[in-house]
C-alpha cells in the first residue's frame, strides 16, 4: 500500500488539525506573488479557495464552463449548511457533528478528515455572515437554524430553500473582489480536457475555449480541481446538465487514484420522470418528509385517483417497516424502500415509477396556512413543473441520482496521488463515507475551499519558490494538447447518426438499472457488458454537427458522454468488488432477512482506490484501511 499514504497526523482527534497546521511550511508574501495556482471549477469549493488563495497573494487562474462563476451547480443546493455552533443550546458540539457524519456515512469515511470538516464548520458560517450572506434570522436578529434528516440537533443554517445559491453568491462576491484586485484571473466558458504533468508533478491544464473551440495551455505550480460530482452518469439526475466527470477523469487517466466510485447517493424525494423527453429531475427538499407521509396503494397496479383510495387501502410502507423513524429514515433507506415498492408493482402514476408524498393529514392538523409557511415555495415549484396542486392532491415522488460520495482519492492535505494536484469539494472522496447527511455537502465544500486547502497547499508550494514560471511550451504540454486535439478529431470524424444526448440517455438507463440503488454481481457484470457494447456503438455512430472551431454544444456533450462510459465501468467494477452493503451501496447478496443492509466491517472497512492502467486494462485496486479510534462501529438501525 505504498501508494496510499493518507498522511493523517497522530494525536488526539480534537488536536490533529491544529497541531498539523502548526507544522506546515509557509511561503512568504513576496514569494507567493511568484507562484501560480490553477483552480478548475467555481462552485463553493473552487470559488472559495480561489478567493482565499488570492487574498493570500498567489496568482490564481480560475476556470469554469459556464459564462459566469455564479452559475456553478452549488447554486442549486436547497436545504442548508451545517455547523456545530450550538446556537440552540441543544448540546451540539464539533464532536457530535463529527459523530453524526461518520455514522451517517456508514463508517466508510476517515475520522480525521470528518472531524476537521466539523471543526472548521463554524468558521464557514462566520465568514459567510461577514460576506453578507442573508441567512435566516429570528426576531432577536440572531441566526436561525433548523433540523435535518439523520440527526437529533438543530444545526442547519439556511436561507429559505436557496441556501446553496446564497452561499455561492457570497463566495462569488469574494471571488469578484479578488478579480478586481488582479490576484485572480477568471477564465469562463472553458472546459478542462487534460491535466499536464511535468516530472511527476501537476503543472498545468489543457482547456478548450468553448466560444472559439481553441485549445489553450495554462501552466501553474499547482492545480486544484473543484469540479463537482459525476451524478449525471445516470443522465437523469438532480444535477445541472453541464455537470460532468471529465476534468476529474482526465486526472484519473493521468495517474490520480479514484476512490469509492460506486458510492453515489440517490435522493428519495425528487419529482418523478414525467415524459420521455425529460432530461432533468428536480429535487423536492428532504424537509418535506417532516410533514408528508409516503404511501402506495395496497393493491397492485391500483390506477384509481389517489383521492378515491380509502385510508385502509393505503400502505404507508415507511411507517410500517421503520416504526421508530417512520417517514424520516435516512436518504438511502427511503430511496431503496420506494424502489422496492415500485419494482413489486405497487408504484403509482402512468409509469408506475413513483410513490405518493401526502400532506393531507398535516393540512388537516395544522391547517393549510401553516404548511404554506413552511413549504410554500416548494409546493409552488412542484405545481409549476407538474401542473398539479399538492395542497389538494398528494405529490408524486421518486428517487433520483444526486450526490457522489466517491471521487478523486486525496490525502489529509487534499492532494491526490499526483503531487501538486489537489481535489476539493464533491470532486474528492473524503468526508461522507458511503452516504452523505443532508446539509453537510455545503459545509464540506466551503471548509475545503476556504479553510483547509489554502493552508495545506502552502506546504507543498514552499518547494517551488525558486522554480520560476512553468513554461507552457514544455513537451508535456505539447503532448497533452495533441492528445486532446486527436480525441476531438476522432470523435468528430465518426460522423454517425445518433446524438450525444441519446447515447447519454441509454448509458444512464444501463447505469440506473444495473448500478443504481440495488446492485448484484450478475447485474453489475451484465451492466458492464452493456456499457462496453454501447461504448463501441458510440464510437461508431455518434453524430456531431458543426465544427470544432466554434461554439459547439454537441461536441461538448459528446466529449463528456465519452468519459461517462469509462466512469460507469469503474463504478460497476467498484460496486462489484465491494461485497457488502453500506450506505448508498446496497448489494442484494448482502442483506438481512428483513431486507436491510448488511455491512461487513471485518473485510470492507477500507477506501477502495483505483488506478488507471490503460484503455483496455482492468484498473488496479488499492485499499486504504480505515482505522476507527474514536468511534465505535455499530449497525445502523431505524426500526
Amino acid at each position: 500500500m505504498q501508494k496510499l499514504d493518507s498522511k493523517i497526523p497522530e494525536g488526539p482527534l480534537a488536536e490533529k488539525w491544529s497541531r498539523y497546521k502548526a507544522g506546515l511550511r509557509l511561503v512568504n508574501p513576496a514569494n507567493k506573488k511568484k507562484i501560480d495556482i490553477i483552480v478548475v471549477g467555481t462552485g463553493l469549493a473552487g470559488a472559495g479557495t480561489a478567493s482565499a488563495l488570492g487574498e493570500l497573494g498567489y496568482n490564481v487562474k480560475v476556470f469554469c464552463f459556464q459564462d459566469s462563476p455564479r452559475r456553478a451547480h452549488s447554486v442549486a443546493a436547497q436545504g442548508g449548511i451545517n455547523a456545530a455552533k450550538n446556537y440552540k443550546n441543544d448540546n451540539d458540539s464539533v464532536y457530535r457533528l463529527f459523530h453524526d457524519m461518520v455514522k451517517g456515512g456508514d463508517y466508510r469515511a476517515r475520522e480525521a478528515n470528518v472531524y476537521r470538516a466539523a471543526e472548521v464548520s463554524n468558521d464557514v458560517i462566520d465568514h459567510f455572515t461577514a460576506l453578507g450572506v442573508p441567512f435566516a434570522r429570528d426576531y432577536g436578529g440572531s441566526l436561525d437554524t433548523r433540523s435535518f434528516g439523520g440527526v437529533q440537533v438543530s444545526r442547519t443554517f439556511y436561507a429559505k430553500g436557496q441556501t446553496g445559491q446564497q452561499c455561492l453568491l457570497g463566495t462569488y462576491s469574494s471571488l469578484n473582489r479578488q478579480i478586481a484586485k488582479g490576484t485572480v484571473k477568471m477564465f469562463p466558458r472553458r472546459d478542462m480536457l487534460d491535466v499536464v504533468i511535468i516530472d511527476g508533478k501537476a503543472r498545468g491544464i489543457i482547456t478548450r475555449n468553448l466560444l472559439t473551440g481553441e485549445l489553450e495551455r495554462h501552466s501553474a505550480h499547482a492545480v486544484v480541481l473543484a469540479t463537482g460530482g459525476y451524478g449525471t452518469v445516470f443522465y437523469l439526475s438532480t444535477l445541472g446538465l453541464g455537470s460532468n466527470a471529465s476534468a476529474a477523469w482526465s486526472a484519473y487517466k493521468k495517474g490520480a487514484l479514484f476512490a469509492n466510485p460506486s458510492f453515489i447517493q440517490i435522493h428519495p424525494t425528487s419529482i418523478p420522470v414525467l415524459n420521455d423527453y425529460q432530461c432533468k429531475l428536480t429535487l423536492m427538499s428532504e424537509s418535506l418528509r417532516n410533514d408528508g407521509r409516503v404511501w402506495v396503494p395496497k393493491e397492485k397496479g391500483d390506477k384509481r385517483h389517489p383521492g378515491e383510495i380509502p385510508e385502509e387501502e393505503r400502505d404507508y410502507y415507511l411507517e410500517r417497516r421503520y416504526p421508530a423513524f417512520g417517514n424520516l429514515v435516512p436518504r438511502d433507506v427511503a430511496s431503496r424502500a420506494a424502489k422496492e415498492r415500485c419494482d413489486a408493482g405497487y408504484g403509482v402514476g402512468d409509469t408506475g415509477l413513483s410513490v405518493y408524498l401526502d400532506f393531507k393529514d398535516a393540512i388537516e392538523k395544522q391547517g393549510q396556512k401553516a404548511i404554506k409557511d413552511k413549504y410554500g415555495n416548494l409546493f409552488e415549484m412542484y405545481e409549476k413543473i407538474t401542473g398539479i396542486n399538492p395542497y389538494t392532491q398528494p405529490m408524486r415522488i421518486y428517487p433520483a441520482g444526486h450526490y457522489t460520495m466517491g471521487g478523486l482519492w486525496v490525502d489529509y492535505n487534499l492532494m491526490t496521488t499526483i503531487p501538486g494536484l489537489y481535489a476539493i469539494g464533491e470532486s474528492n472522496f473524503s468526508d461522507h463515507g458511503a452516504n452523505r447527511l443532508g446539509a453537510s455537502s455545503l459545509m464540506q465544500c466551503c471548509g475545503d475551499g476556504y479553510f483547509i486547502l489554502p493552508n495545506t497547499i502552502g506546504h507543498y508550494l514552499a518547494d517551488d519558490i525558486r522554480t520560476g514560471k512553468i513554461p507552457a511550451d514544455d513537451p508535456a504540454f505539447e503532448e497533452a494538447e495533441k492528445t486532446v486535439a486527436d480525441r476531438i478529431q476522432r470523435i468528430i470524424a465518426v460522423g454517425g447518426k445518433e446524438t450525444a444526448s441519446s447515447f447519454h440517455k441509454r448509458l444512464g438507463k444501463i447505469m440506473w438499472d444495473h448500478c443504481g440503488m440495488r446492485r448484484d454481481a450478475e447485474g453489475l457484470k451484465k451492466g458492464m457488458e452493456l456499457l462496453k457494447q454501447l461504448e463501441e456503438e458510440f464510437w461508431k455512430n455518434i453524430c456531431i454537427p458543426g465544427s470544432e472551431k466554434d461554439l459547439n454544444q454537441e461536441l461538448e456533450k459528446a466529449l463528456k458522454v465519452a468519459d461517462f462510459f469509462e466512469v460507469g465501468m469503474l463504478m460497476c467494477e467498484d460496486a462489484l468488488q465491494r461485497e457488502e452493503s453500506c450506505g448508498a451501496h446496497f448489494r442484494e447478496e448482502h442483506q438481512t432477512e428483513t431486507g436491510e443492509a448488511r455491512r461487513d466491517d471485518a473485510n470492507f472497512a477500507y477506501v477502495g482506490a483505483w488506478e488507471y492502467l490503460g484503455p483496455k486494462a482492468k484498473p488496479k485496486l488499492y485499499k486504504e484501511a480505515l482505522r476507527f479510534e474514536f468511534v465505535e462501529l455499530k449497525e445502523r438501525s431505524y426500526k
Binding site: H127, A130, G132, P134, Y139, N176, L274, G387, Y450, L551
Partner: protein, 251 residues
Amino acid sequence: MDFTLKIWRQKNAQTKGSFKTYPLKDVSPEMSFLEMLDYLNKQIIEQGDEPVTFEHDCREGICGSCGLYINGRPHGPMRNTTTCELHMREFKDGETIVIEPWRSRAFPVIKDLVVDRSSFERIMHAGGFISANTGTAPESNSNPISKLIADKAFDAAACIGCGACVAACQNSSAMLYAAAKIAQYAMIPQGKVEAKERVDKMVKQMDAEGFGFCSNTYGCEFDCPKGISVDFIALMNREFFSSKVCKQKQA
C-alpha cells in the same frame, strides 16, 4: 401538441442573423420549454443540420443560464418563471412561438440565442462584494440584524443574474440587477462600511457598459423570474445621491 417555431438563428457575432421557421409536431404538454427545444434539436441534428444553440444548465430555475425572449416576453408568458421552468401546457396547440435572444447593446449575441452577459460580471467586479478576508470574520451573532432587514436583504439577493430585467426594459437598463446587489449590502451592517464607494463604482461601470437609463416603467420587476422589487432601485438611487453629496475627498 403542434407548434410553429420562429427562431432567431445567427452563426456568430460577426454575421447577420435571421429568423428561421420550424414546424414541430407531437410536443407533449408535460415538456418544459427547453425540453421542447431539445426535442427540436434532436430532429434538426438527425436531418444533418446544426442545432439551435441556447444556454441552460440547472433546469430548475436557479442558475440563471437560460433566458429566451418568447413571444415578446423574457422567459415567456408566465410570471416568476424562468424559461426552464416554463412548460408547454401554457401554450395553445397550433400556436406560433417567436423565440429571440435578449437584445441589448451590452448583451451582444454570440450565437443563435446565446448572448454575452459579461457586462454583468464587470459590474460585480466593480464593487459587488463586501471586503472581508477569509479568517477575519467575527462571531456571527455578534452583529444582530433584524429579521425584517435580513428577509429584505434575502429578497434582493435572490437575483439569479439571468438578464431578464434588461431584456424586459424598454430602455434595456440594468438598474434592477445592480440595485439588487447594492441594496442587499447597503441594508446590512457588514455592507454599510463601503456602501458609498460600492454604489459609486457599480453605477459607473453599469453606465460604461452601455446599458440604458431607467425611466421607471417597472417592466423589469414584472418580468423578473425572482420577482425582485423596484423598491431596491429607489434604495440604490438614494445611496447614489447620498454618496455624491456626502463623499469626502480622499486625502
